[in-house]
Symmetry: C2
Subunit: 205 residues, 2 copies
């Protein structure tokens, strides 16, 4: 309806079901895409540059950092990951809405960054005991890793009150509907539509 896209910043503790939910949300909506991070790690088999990640060298990454081109960045296991401000802005300017999947620290940085208006959404498990049950059920992680993920979840959930929306993944289909509703509703926010051409309303008389 309006020209500029919206940046949806989504955080969720590990095991909340974020990947499944985001995939279903994207399948059901047009004009919505996923943010592609820059990383210095090597592509894994099947990963495509510009699709899964923007793969860059350490020196390229450092040059972008030096130029303050990252909305946020982090070092994980010796590799750098970052969200490019110009990449996000150019897609928003084309009217594309973007979902950016990011941890609570990154989300706080973006929320404080006035250069990119954003909408924050926290996706939460119904309870920590349910989260533990889901993490155990996946059976992909050791007990130590599960404990670590739960500790992180407690820390991350302490930040959820700072988010504009809180979506609880009790039933996946409900969470998908709610997240889609947030996106549709935000597209209809008056303050987005009141600047420039007011929707398609023209006073012809």
């Amino acid at each position: 309806m309006n020209d500029a896209g919206i940046l949806f910043v989504l955080s969720a503790p590990s095991g909340t079901g974020k990947t499944t939910i985001v995939k279903k949300v994207m399948d059901g909506m047009i004009n919505l895409s996923f943010s592609i991070s820059h990383t210095t790690r090597s592509p894994r088999a099947g990963e495509q540059n510009g699709v899964d990640y923007h793969f860059v060298s350490v020196s390229e990454f450092m040059e972008m950092r030096r130029k303050n081109l990252f909305l946020e960045w982090a070092e994980v296991h010796g590799n750098f990951y970052g969200t490019s401000r110009p990449a996000i802005l150019s897609r928003l300017e084309c009217g594309k809405d973007i979902i950016l999947d990011i941890d609570v620290q990154g989300a706080a940085l973006i929320a404080a960054d006035d250069s990119v208006p954003s909408v924050s959404v926290f996706l939460a498990p119904p309870s920590l005991s349910e989260l533990e049950r889901r993490l155990c059920q996946r059976a992909t992680d050791s007990n130590e890793i599960i404990e670590l993920r739960l500790k992180n979840a407690v820390k991350e959930m302490a930040a959820m009150e700072h988010y504009e929306y809180l979506v609880v993944n009790d039933e996946i289909e409900d969470a998908v509907t709610t997240l889609q509703a947030v996106i549709i509703a935000e597209r209809s926010r008056g303050h987005r539509l009141s600047s420039g051409e007011p929707v398609k309303l023209r006073v012809e008389k």
Copy 2:
């Protein structure tokens, strides 16, 4: 998810399709009801007290006005109509969401009333020429009435920038989906959920 209901204040120029859209929105949602006005006019055939209106005498109405019990009131063709603050508040306290269909002046009064937090939605026709076409097509009104309705629509649409959400009724099903999305999204707003019990999240560990 939380305890208190939400008051959705909806305004739309005559002929926008509000009645149809609100009916479809209500049919598809639970825990949502329509605000029932107080009026001094006589019940018409089939109208039920407490369902269509709260029918009261002029002296009862004036007593309510004197006690400042109306969120807003108006006189139309010699009859009084008003929205009872205690009636709205008691339903909100029971966790019921309410749609209140009201003109732009009434909506401005309610938006300024801190005793009842509300969410404002303007439902707009795609254009004034389309509104004129729809009003003519209904063929229930004289040309003078249609002209009057269009003039009122121009006045009301000048106020739409003050609303939190703007839903354009281009296609009815899209407008229904968008209005439902606004209701679902507002139910997930962090500030509603951060007071009191944080959703169903309990830190059990």
